[in-house]
């Protein structure tokens, strides 16, 4: 083989070998382009809904890699039974834990830093039992594991945060959708207050800016909004079944601002009605412009 022949055959071989990977790359780009940014599923069974919703945005493996330590952060903030819609649906939490484990997560941790007594909230919400049964490591927060962290936000400069939440490979935020006194609604960004230590009451003086700074710092991989039941009045603690509305809906999105923006619509509000959505968009944390998003709706 002389040099010319060699170059010729090498070129042919190279082209032949490159085509499939180029095709795959192209297909991937194409899929990403048409892949929904946000998926909404209606269905009676939360576990089935969340599976469908995740499949809708590319599958859990898009967010959880083999060997990851994953924190699943539900709302376990109040001493209420699940039907009062003050805490995240336990079946949903368990389903997400299972999905993470199936995707190869090394460990899935579930915790929250509740307002009411943690022993009661973990137990009464049904989350501790359901998540542990699904294979998660459920623990109460340990005061020694909060560490002052430089957040460097516009509003929140520094705050004690839970090290296990910050140091995890991935954090999946699973808020329940509820009304709230200052922030109007509590959705994804507000749920991240559960990784804060210290005297959280002060946050309410500049709640929206604080939430955006916190959300940018914690940066969850995924937001799953539990709207199986939503609390429409007397939130965030609730206590009256008459205030609970059953939507059997689950919203999944990787964009924190878009997730909360869509959550607002569930209550008949506009995205811009929520201060943290407005500020989040301004700060470039995500988009509140739902028309620009590729949204897939699935009815099971």
């Amino acid at each position: 083989m002389n040099r010319r022949e060699f170059l010729k055959s090498a070129a042919v071989a190279g082209t032949v070998l490159t085509v499939p990977s180029a095709v795959a790359l192209l297909a991937g780009r194409l899929e990403a382009a048409v892949r929904p940014d946000l998926c909404v599923v209606r269905g009676k069974v939360p576990a089935a809904s969340v599976r469908a919703a995740l499949d809708g945005i590319g599958g859990i493996r898009r967010f959880v890699a083999r060997g990851d330590i994953v924190v699943v952060k539900p709302n376990i903030g109040w001493d209420r039974l699940p039907e009062y819609a003050a805490t995240t649906n336990p079946e949903l939490v368990a389903a997400v834990v299972r999905l993470c484990i199936d995707a190869g997560a090394k460990k899935v941790k579930v915790f929250d830093h509740p307002v009411s007594d943690a022993r009661r909230t973990y137990r009464q919400s049904g989350i501790a039992e359901a998540a542990a049964a699904a294979g998660a490591e459920v623990s109460f927060t340990d005061d020694r594991k909060f560490r002052e962290m430089k957040i460097g936000g516009e509003t929140l400069k520094s705050w004690p945060l839970y090290t296990e939440a910050v140091e995890a490979d991935k954090l999946i935020n699973i808020p329940i959708a509820k009304v709230h006194g200052t922030s109007r609604l509590t959705l994804g960004m507000k749920n991240l207050m559960g990784v804060m230590g210290g005297w959280r009451g002060r946050i309410h003086q500049r709640i929206d800016g604080s939430l955006v700074d916190l959300a940018a710092f914690v940066n969850p991989s995924l937001v799953i909004i539990d709207a199986v039941r939503i609390l429409t009045a007397n939130g965030p603690q609730g206590g009256d079944l008459a205030d609970v509305k059953r939507l059997d809906t689950i919203v999944v999105c990787a964009d924190q601002v878009a997730a909360d923006a869509y959550g607002a619509m569930l209550f008949g509000l506009k995205p811009a009605d929520l201060g943290c959505v407005r500020l989040g968009q301004q700060a470039g944390l995500g988009t509140a412009n739902l028309e620009k998003l590729n949204i897939r709706k699935i009815d099971l």
Binding site: D117, Q124, G201, D240
Partner: protein, 512 residues
């Protein structure tokens, strides 16, 4: 042999007692799940004095009857074989050998008993201050256990901070294990802990002055059981073999003068059986006989004086303006289900169970908020901790029904007080600064705190929109979570007082 048997029994009872003490803590369920108050239920002194003070015949049937019958048949076996404080006294006594001659003040405890019983006849429940079980639980719950918890945490925190290779890993593993077993869920902190702890350690320390000093001279329950044991069938007898060596005298924890042979004091004998075990001649034995013991002579004047003191103390502690409606201490917020104050005080034995079990640590021992009579009774201090809306544990562990056992639905209707806002300190009122923490945390199904949209004037002449909280007087139950969580630290901008409490007919605000 018998001595080892007795020591085993003491250990078993002490361990059960301590185990139940540790279980007097929420696991998150609605019910406590263990018979944590069983020792108090079986206490004949608390039974008798509560029965007399409350005159409630439904309290006649009680586990205490078992102890009473056992004492009538077998003598003070409770003191020697079962009492946890007795076991702790024996343990403390084993730390050193007292040198001095016994004081011999045995009559003192009977006079104390007479005083307490006389007071209870006149409706004053004072036995709880000196009852050994109440005293032990209270001291452990409010002082000793919190101190243990604090010391353990400080030690493990230090080891963690030091980051010594291997050692820190080991210490963290041990700490994790302790957190799951011996250590409390949250560090308990109580007012008066130093004083309560000092009294308890002082009582244990007295064993070094004289063994079982407390049991011999002070314990009113011991006195009551002593009286009941006068005709006990289980009796000690000494055979001809006794050569008067005195070995038994030195080993007698009750100071019952066993060397006096038939002249020993049956009421002081705690049936420990040391004298039987240790007699070099094997001359002592315990057996059943109906021989009558010598009568107890306390001295008529002393008895009359104790009775009179017990009767006189009642009006003396009650001539306090605190008893007047409106003059009562507004900080006297009783736990939910607490009976009206007079009935409450007749029942509360200051055992501290409710404070031990309180989820938030808000239940604290009163100093003089409820008068002298109310010393160490529970009151809620919302700045320290609030009353969790769906928790009913304090009523479940109360041994005398001073705090009624409430169902969840009943509990939700009970007002223990009322919150009011201090607009001079509240951020949206006084400082144009947003804050809605009190509204956020308010747990009633329809929130008792509502927000009014208003404009607040600012330093620069502009006005800002704020939401100002208001308390709905009908809906507020006084749980105090708003006060606990109010970010205006120190003196809070919203605070609860006992005003409007369900249990009082007088302490009301509104015409309803």
């Amino acid at each position: 042999m018998l001595r080892n048997l007795r020591r085993t029994s003491q250990s078993v009872f002490l361990l059960i007692f301590l185990y139940l003490f540790l279980q007097t803590e929420s696991k998150g369920a609605n019910d406590i799940g263990y018979p944590v108050k069983v020792f108090l239920d079986a206490d004949p002194l608390l039974w008798l004095t509560t029965l007399l003070a409350t005159r409630s015949p439904e309290r006649i049937l009680s586990l205490a009857l078992i102890v009473i019958i056992a004492t009538i048949l077998l003598g003070r076996v409770f003191c020697g074989w079962g009492c946890p404080l007795g076991a702790l006294n024996d343990l403390a006594g084993s730390l050193g050998r007292p040198r001095r001659k016994p004081f011999g003040w045995f009559t003192l405890k009977y006079l104390i008993l007479i005083f307490l019983v006389a007071a209870s006849v006149f409706t004053l429940q004072a036995a709880g201050f000196l009852d050994p079980l109440s005293l032990t639980i209270r001291s452990l719950a409010l002082a000793i256990y919190p101190a243990f918890s604090h010391a353990a945490s400080a030690l493990f925190d230090m080891l963690l901070a030091a980051q010594i290779p291997m050692l820190t890993d080991a210490s963290e593993a041990v700490y994790g294990l302790l957190k799951k077993t011996l250590l409390p869920f949250r560090p308990p902190q109580f007012h008066q802990a130093l004083f309560l702890g000092a009294v308890f350690l002082g009582i244990l320390g007295l064993n070094l002055v004289e063994r079982r000093f407390w049991c011999r001279y002070l314990c009113p329950l011991g006195a009551l059981l002593g009286l009941l044991s006068s005709r006990a069938l289980l009796k000690r007898s000494v055979s001809e073999g006794c050569d008067g060596c005195g070995a038994c005298a030195a080993s007698c924890p009750g100071g019952a003068r066993p060397e006096m042979k038939d002249g020993w004091s049956v009421r002081e004998c705690v049936a420990c059986m040391n004298c039987d075990d240790l007699c070099p001649q094997g001359a002592v034995r315990f057996g059943f006989s109906t021989k009558k013991a010598a009568a107890l002579d306390l001295g008529r004047r002393r008895v009359v004086a104790s009775l009179a003191a017990g009767a006189m103390v009642v009006p003396l502690v009650r001539i306090t303006p605190l008893a007047k409606a409106g003059a009562a201490d507004p900080a006297l917020i009783r736990p939910p289900g607490a009976l009206p104050e007079n009935d409450f005080l007749r029942r509360c034995v200051k055992c501290g169970e409710c404070m031990k079990v309180c989820l938030t640590g808000g239940l604290q021992p009163a100093l003089l908020e409820g008068g002298v009579e109310g010393l160490w009774t529970p009151l809620l201090v919302p700045r320290i901790g609030y009353c969790e809306y769906r928790c009913t544990l304090c009523g479940q562990v109360c041994p005398t029904g001073a705090i009624a056992k409430l169902g969840l639905e009943e509990k939700a209707k009970v007002k223990i007080g009322l919150a009011m806002i201090d607009p001079g300190r509240c951020l949206p009122y006084a400082h144009g600064t947003p804050c809605i923490v009190c509204e956020e945390v308010c747990p009633t199904p329809k929130k008792a705190i509502w927000l009014e949209e208003a404009m607040a004037g600012m330093n620069d002449g502009k006005a800002v929109a704020v939401k100002r909280p208001h308390v709905d007087l009908d809906l507020c139950i006084g749980c105090g979570i708003c006060e606990t969580q109010c970010p205006v630290l120190g003196r809070p901008a919203i605070a609860v007082t006992s005003l409007g409490e369900t249990r009082s007919k007088d302490n009301r605000l509104l015409l309803r």
